[in-house]
């Protein structure tokens, strides 16, 4: 297929808006008479509010109201009305519902005032008396009472296959280990915010930080008993979300509540500290037991997962599927249990379950390879899976071998000595490690509308989101490519609930899902344009079918004789000045479900570890990705780079610390919750290997938002082992663990 736009390293079409500050985020839409809300959060983790005194706050001039459970308006009754599109099984948290405290930093009041500063000051004057109950936030001591949920949100373990217990017992080479990481928070640059514009007829326009406006619309209409036509949700730009914006967060509920009560527009913006008061990657412990033959064939695998959840919702993620996707093994037993604590419900965070599961799996496999005395790449090749054993399906495509080959070559892996502590430079021990990974390449249902106006310009729209991934750019490329017109003639609109329906932007499926809808809508427009072109006087295309023409350079021309052409402008002139409009809903093809569809990655890492001081520097990373067809190598590379940087954080820095005495996360700001800084990131090389996939979606593209992170932390952990001979099974690997 000849392409003009797809496959080009195109700059972001919204880049200028972003660097000039013209791109507006949810907390930046200013309207006349806007009031500001500031949230008061609970100081305790469990108990009741005995007394909440707002009188001092209300005395302050300019303070409009302080909403609490005592004066809030009546609630829509049923639990299900508070379930958003990403809600796990259970009973969703309802802000200000009653006097019960279920987790530390629970929102318990909203002070609303004429300015943000006043609202914040008023919030500090709210006096609360608690009746505390004993809380329990200690993950470790509750592992014994972990339970199998009635229903999994995601990641339900497959039934065992083969004879795992017997195979493990008789395997000549075995390893076992517990692998842990603590809770982690998303920390997008933009804090969560909602600006709710109240109109005289009671209708609302809601500017919300969300990964899909339809979810906000559904949540607001259900929770407040409103109709969809009464609530328009707009979210043109999202300053990073990484999963934190999949579910509407409490600032939305509080802002809507306040706006409706005060009959006034209200904005609620969370502070950085408050960003630690809701969902997070759950603390997880994984118990692995592996058995292999002396020749290195994987004979048995057992993985038992214990993951944190709240007492009101059963959050779970895909932690246990990766062994069945990544390794050929005939005897496998998997379990996934939940540990209920007095915390807020965990929430999908970049590659949920994958980051967690692949970390432990890949460290355990590295341990096994070492026990076998085998090179880690050779070990993986020997146990390469040709099908997904969880579902017993072949892969739609899998160029992972090529990832190994190209990644290893670029990295110089063949020069590696298997022996730990075999490379040294001054005080630094040098280690090389690798890991591989996979991430789902799914497609969902979505709609898009394409409109060509008489000036030949195309506008395509869908209620999807751009959470910084490049959706605007990639959709513009796909549309421009399909109609053979320049990028400048295409406008893509998103982030508005009045646009055609699209799912949440998450799970690395937006290019696949919305991209397919965009292409389909543009394909429909092609049909209409060809018909119009055929009506042009002396049209050379009269006899031509769609298959016989190409759309390129603003022209529709015969494939066989390109000089025989009609311009799109000329075709449009046949439409009496009217626009062409096509809206389609696209669904995954039926045959997709016959295949396992995954993107793959192999990551190679070099670390330098100071042998006396334990400091670790990740000096080189090579990430080789098989992600199907790459629509935009530039934004694609950014996704992988971002994943690698985050992987460095997961491996070495990220750790939300729970104080079990207080039942509270204590490092709740960016000074104390560490994510990588520039100085932590050195050489990072991204390779996209060629991969053709005609099953995954009509574009042949796999999502890249998550595949970049999944294998980074284990590759670093494995490199640290190679450098030091010390196996750290608990993330993050901080210097004290290497002393």
């Amino acid at each position: 297929m000849k392409t003009n736009e797809i496959g080009k390293p195109t700059n972001r079409v919204d880049g200028r808006l972003k660097v000039t500050g013209e791109a507006k985020y949810a907390g930046e839409f200013n309207v006349p008479n806007l009031a500001y809300g500031f949230v008061v959060n609970s100081a305790i983790a469990k108990g009741k509010i005995k007394k909440i005194d707002t009188s001092k706050a209300l005395e302050v001039e300019g303070v409009l109201e302080v909403f609490t459970h005592e004066n809030r308006p009546g609630y829509v009754w049923f639990d299900k009305n508070y379930k958003d599109m990403d809600a796990p099984p259970g009973s969703p948290f309802r802000p200000l519902y009653d006097n019960e405290i279920k987790f530390s930093m629970q929102p318990i009041a909203l002070a609303v005032a004429e300015t943000f500063e006043l609202a914040r000051y008023a919030a500090s004057l709210v006096r609360i008396e608690y009746e505390t109950s004993p809380h329990d936030t200690d993950f470790e001591t509750n592992i014994e009472s972990a339970y199998v949920p009635e229903e999994y949100k995601s990641g339900e373990p497959s039934e065992p296959w083969g004879q795992p217990d017997q195979a493990l017992a008789s395997a000549p080479v075995q390893i076992e280990g517990d692998y842990t990481h603590s809770s982690q928070h998303h920390n997008p640059m933009e804090m969560h915010a909602s600006t709710v514009v109240w109109k005289d007829d009671g209708k609302l326009t809601v500017y919300d930080k969300i990964q899909g406006v339809m979810n906000t619309q559904q949540y607001v209409t259900h929770a407040f008993g409103m109709q969809p036509e009464e609530v328009q949700v707009i979210s043109p730009f999202v300053g990073g979300a990484f999963g934190s914006g999949l579910r509407p967060q409490y600032q939305l509920f509080l802002a809507v509540l306040a706006a409706r009560e005060l009959k006034r527009s209200v904005r609620v913006t969370l502070t950085r500290q408050q960003m630690f008061s809701f969902g997070h990657r759950p603390k997880t412990m994984q118990r692995f037991a592996l058995g292999a033959s002396k020749e290195g064939k994987l004979e048995a695998l057992k993985q038992d997962v214990f993951a944190e959840t709240s007492r009101f919702e059963n959050y779970s993620e895909d932690v246990v599927i990766w062994a069945g996707v990544l390794y050929k093994c005939g005897n496998v037993k998997l379990s996934h249990k939940l540990v209920e604590l007095d915390v807020y419900t965990p929430l999908d965070m970049r590659a949920p379950g994958g980051t967690t599961g692949i970390f432990a799996l890949e460290c355990a496999m590295d341990e096994l390879a070492y026990k076998l005395g085998m090179d880690p790449v050779e070990f993986r090749l020997k146990n390469y899976s040709e099908k997904d054993q969880n579902e017993d399906k072949p892969f739609s495509s899998k160029e992972l071998r090529e990832c190994y080959r190209q990644g290893a070559e670029k990295f110089g892996w063949e020069k590696r000595n298997l022996e730990p502590r075999s490379m040294k430079e001054g005080h630094n021990l040098i280690g090389w490690g690798m890991a591989h990974g996979a991430w789902e390449a799914n497609q969902a249902q979505a709609s898009a509308k394409a409109v060509v106006t008489s000036d030949g310009k195309l506008t395509v729209s869908s209620a999807t989101a751009d959470i910084g991934t490049g959706t605007y750019t990639v959709m513009t490329q796909i549309a421009a490519e399909t109609l053979g017109i320049p990028l400048d003639d295409v406008t893509f609109k998103l982030g508005d609930s009045s646009l055609p329906d699209a799912p949440l932007e998450g799970g690395s499926k937006t290019v696949s899902t919305v991209g397919t809808a965009v292409k389909s809508a543009c394909d429909k427009v092609r049909e209409r344009l060809l018909k119009l072109a055929q009506q042009v006087k002396d049209s050379p295309l009269v006899e031509a079918s769609l298959e016989q023409v190409i759309f390129e350079g603003g022209q529709i021309s015969l494939k066989s004789e390109s000089s025989k052409a009609v311009s799109i402008m000329a075709a449009m002139s046949q439409n009496q000045g009217k626009a062409i409009e096509e809206e389609v809903s696209s669904k995954p093809a039926d045959n997709q479900s016959d295949y396992a569809r995954y993107a793959h990655v192999a990551t190679f890492v070099e670390v330098k570890v100071d042998e006396d001081l334990g400091t670790i520097k990740v000096t080189r990373v090579v990430s080789a990705v098989a992600g199907g067809r790459i629509i935009n190598p530039k934004t694609a590379r950014s996704q992988i780079l971002g994943g690698v940087v985050w992987g460095i954080g997961v491996a070495m820095e990220e750790d939300t610390v729970m104080d079990n005495n207080l039942g509270r996360f204590m490092n709740h700001d960016l000074d104390k919750y560490h994510i990588p800084v520039n100085a932590d990131v050195h050489d990072v090389e991204v390779i996209f290997v060629e991969e053709k996939d005609e099953i995954v979606n009509p574009l042949g593209a796999k999502g890249l938002g998550e595949i970049g992170i999944v294998s980074v932390a284990p590759a670093i952990a494995n490199a640290v082992f190679h450098a030091t001979g010390k196996r750290v099974r608990e993330l993050p690997i901080t210097l004290d663990k290497l002393l």
Binding site: N41, A43, E117, R120, Y121, S124, Q273, H427, D612, L613, G614, T615, K617, M652, E653, V657, D659, N661, L662, R664, M666, N667, H668, D669, D671, K672, H674, P676, V677, N678, A679, D680, T734, L735, D736, L739
Partner: protein, 331 residues
């Protein structure tokens, strides 16, 4: 943020008058720490005295052959000052190991000494903290204390002083010039900060009516052999788990004078002159450095998460002294 009144002082005497005019008054200069703390209600001044226009923003020679750093010289201007870089490179390195370029451009040398601890609990007004609210208890002792102190702690507080600059100043034996109602006095840097004891809410020996006007560096700058080694949980923009300012004066292979100050381990920069003296007249060897290291952590106490700092501090001292020793003497 609590409401406050604001005034701009036009000279030192006026600044002192203003700050004593009302209880709850505070000076503000760069504001890099104070404003953060005011926003989260940890600091609640009723009156702010802006001292940024005072003529304390120069670096000058002292009669004793040292340098006088005006209290309002920014951390960045100090670190990149030619004479500081040449004569006191230990100080430049320490400053540049802290914060970010943006913060160093705002933060002043006087303010650097007065920044508050970064203890998790001090920053969260919903938790008990004796430093923030005397008598409420210390959450960190039995809570999370990875970043906190191992030396000079009390049952009331295990906070650390976060400054890198102060650690180098302690090693260099700098002095702090302050002015109050009763005129000027000089406080050795090492005596400027206090141990928490039973008044952890008081960080320094500066009196409520006093303002820092300058920091004086003595003539001897150890420019030939020095190291500022900062160990932290990421490569930049993180406070020290342990930092070491080390300086050596060596004749042949014999140590004439050694200085070692630790950061990140106590409520103040930690110096033990008696331990430094162990090296005097001795060969500059790893074994001798090890002895100094052992002496520095005598009596150190871990609280669980920070136990590792005891071993880390020892290793860091040895490494820093070795690095200082191995420096090519400047020609």
């Amino acid at each position: 943020m609590k409401n406050f009144t604001y005034t701009r002082a036009n000279d030192v005497a006026n600044a002192v008058d203003e700050v004593t005019s009302e209880k709850g008054s505070k000076f503000i200069a760069g504001g890099t720490n104070l404003l953060d703390l005011m926003k989260i209600q940890v600091e609640r001044p009723s009156h702010l005295v802006d001292i940024t226009r005072l003529a304390l923003d120069t670096i000058e020679e002292t009669a004793e052959g040292g340098l006088r750093l005006g209290a309002l010289v920014t951390n960045a201007d100090t670190a990149y000052h030619e004479e500081v870089g040449k004569r006191y490179p230990l100080l430049s390195h320490a400053i540049l190991a802290g914060a970010t370029a943006q913060l160093r451009n705002m933060a002043t040398d006087g303010g650097n000494l007065l920044q508050r601890t970064r203890c998790y609990y001090f920053y969260d007004t919903d938790t008990p903290c004796n430093k923030r609210e005397p008598g409420t208890g210390c959450s960190a002792i039995k809570g999370y204390n990875r970043d906190l102190a191992i030396l000079g702690t009390s049952e009331h507080c295990i906070a650390t002083h976060p400054s890198d600059m102060a650690v180098a100043l302690a090693a260099l034996e700098a002095t702090v010039r302050v002015t109050g109602k009763n005129g000027e006095r000089i406080i050795p840097l090492f005596e400027f900060h206090r141990l928490p004891g039973d008044t952890p809410n008081i960080d320094t020996n500066l009196k409520p009516d006093e303002i820092i006007t300058a920091i004086d560096l003595p003539a001897k700058g150890f420019a030939d052999r020095y190291t500022y080694l900062k160990l932290r949980d990421r490569a930049s923009y993180a406070f020290a788990l342990v930092s070491v300012a080390a300086a050596l004066d060596i004749d042949g292979d014999t140590v004439k004078e050694a200085r070692v100050a630790l950061g990140g381990v106590a409520h103040k920069p930690w110096r033990i002159p008696e331990a430094e003296a162990l090296l005097k007249g001795k060969p500059a060897t790893r074994e001798n450095f090890q002895k100094v290291a052992e002496a520095y952590v005598q009596g150190a106490k871990g609280y669980g998460h920070n136990d590792f700092k005891i071993e880390l501090a020892k290793r860091a001292i040895v490494r820093a002294l070795l690095q200082a020793k191995e420096m090519e003497a400047r020609s």
